[in-house]
Symmetry: C2
Subunit: 295 residues, 2 copies
DNA sequence: CGGGACTTTGAGCAAATTCAACCATTGTGG
DNA sequence: CCACAATGGTTGAATTTGCTCAAAGTCCCG
């Protein structure tokens, strides 16, 4: 599949790739019928083409460093992300490389197998990392939100795809130059090492969930995790905004959309949660969820 | 469960914890009946007590550095592990900290929730990292073999357990001192960052497997992965030695022992593999396995 | 040779998937 | 402004995969 993606130039703005939920059986991919017979071709349209930078001209080069630096001063996720770990001088160094991007839901950031030319920091929205099998089954390996760093583990090519799930803002850095800064700034290197360690711990948590938890346990775990994330970022938790579709939750939890939906209904019936809308959840009984989570 | 483990002093040399296979249903843990009613209490016996070092006295301190350095010179996994990335001087630095340990199958190295006092390099054998749920269901998050580094992602306490699956030799370093060396030796830091990145990529591969692959696909993927590992280490691949029990394979693949066994039988029936013994597999048709692996 | 641990095989069952229909929300065009 | 199509979510029924429970079969070690 990676090879198929290489020709990616432009695709219709509305493609189904992002929402074609994975299915468990090998024959499942076709069964979703009308949806995107060319799954995998994806919305690989070059980001630059779609990019709507805060200062659009900045994409042409990095002459806009002062302007960018100013934007960084005002950045709302500064404390959460890598910039917070840096001295002012080093921040300027990074600010000289940065490009700002805006993405719509379902827009691809990069695809499994692509050359890893950039690394990213997310300033707003929600991004999914995912891997797929040849027949289209998709597994989301993680969600990232404001403050998260994207591109940690990359070598020369990406081992996973990344896609915006909600309207998203990114800071993008050319990978080679970022790497150079990283090697000259020990604080940055250490910060990234710590981030990698965190991400690894999360991945192991996810492995436990996928390998050993029941559908309901997965869902309860997921909701509690989303709440913790929101708390860490100072986002509202009492209606908790999921920022993703059921299909994405399903692809994250290794389930089908239907099972996820049934799970939500069951949790609602138990009084554990309330739904303002499909995306806005109230965790009425966190203790019950905790118990249901199996952990 | 972490709190239960804290009192760990000595346990019988033969405990069942390591082999009590996880089960999917919440009630499953008890259903295995006679096996280890005190699951979770584990073989937490201090390693030092069981340790049979190559030069036993070394445990008392680190005065044996020259001796250890000599051992390191002869080390068979030097090229694979962190030592290979170091200057001779830095190697001596590490050699001054090292302690050699030998473990029997089922012996615990550390437990989820323990203080992370050491990091390890594996020189021989096979180690499983695992996480468990409250009711005893266990998930193995990864296997490590000769050359692998254990303790990458740790903060002050371990997020997972580690246990020897076959007779195993380890190099152990006090974590704080290792950390100090790490921070003074950029090459080491970068090597560990690279290892963390590799481990993360493996974890994501595992997430895809657990979330979206069928039992047979998991097994095929597993066998190919084990073969790749053996190749990387220059170990024999034609009878490929698994170095672990079916129960461990099951806990790694998110399945039950029975399903794993059926899978092996099915692969055998298809002619994809041959079994010299339960632990010695011949991959008769790697291409078929590749196809079956779903990737 | 005998005992125990591990592995394999079989039969029935249950959780989650598949397939299918229906409902709700949203945006569009008449 | 409302009908209506489209998308996403929910619910139901049948099916399937993998699990549970049970019983043999193997292998290893003393």
């Amino acid at each position: 599949m990676p090879s198929l993606a290489s020709a990616g130039t432009n695709a219709p703005a509305t493609e189904a790739t992002g929402t074609a939920s994975a299915t468990r059986s090998k024959s499942g991919a076709q069964s979703h019928g009308a949806r995107s017979p060319r799954a995998g071709a994806a919305a690989h349209a070059g980001i630059a083409a779609h990019a709507q930078t805060d200062a659009d001209a900045s994409l042409a080069g990095h002459h806009a460093s002062t302007c960018q630096a100013f934007a960084c001063q005002a950045c709302t996720v500064r404390g959460l992300t890598i910039c917070g770990a840096l001295e002012p001088d080093d921040q300027t160094l990074l600010a000289g490389l940065v490009q700002h991007l805006s993405l719509q839901p379902h827009q691809s950031i990069f695809q499994e197998g692509d050359a890893a030319d950039y690394v990213y920091t997310i300033t707003a929205g929600c991004v999914a990392m995912s891997k797929s099998l040849a027949d289209g089954r998709r597994q989301i390996t993680g969600f990232m939100g404001p403050g998260d760093f994207l591109g940690l583990a990359v070598e020369d090519e990406n081992h996973y795809s990344a896609e915006a799930l909600s309207p998203t803002h990114l800071c993008r850095y050319p990978r080679q130059r970022f790497r150079a800064v990283m090697q000259s700034v020990p604080a940055l290197e250490q910060r990234l090492y710590a981030l990698a360690a965190d991400e690894l711990a999360l991945a192991q948590e996810q492995i436990l969930l996928l390998g050993r938890k029941t559908a309901l346990e997965r869902l309860a775990t997921f909701l509690l995790m989303m709440r913790r994330r929101a708390q860490q970022r100072g986002l509202p938790t009492n209606p908790l905004r999921l920022s993703m579709a059921r299909a994405d939750v399903a692809d994250y939890l290794g389930l089908t959309v239907e099972t996820v939906s049934r799970g939500f209904s069951k949790l609602r019936a138990m009084g554990a949660i309330t739904l303002d809308s499909a995306e806005l959840v109230r965790l009425a009984k966190p203790a019950l969820l905790q118990e249901l989570s199996g952990t």
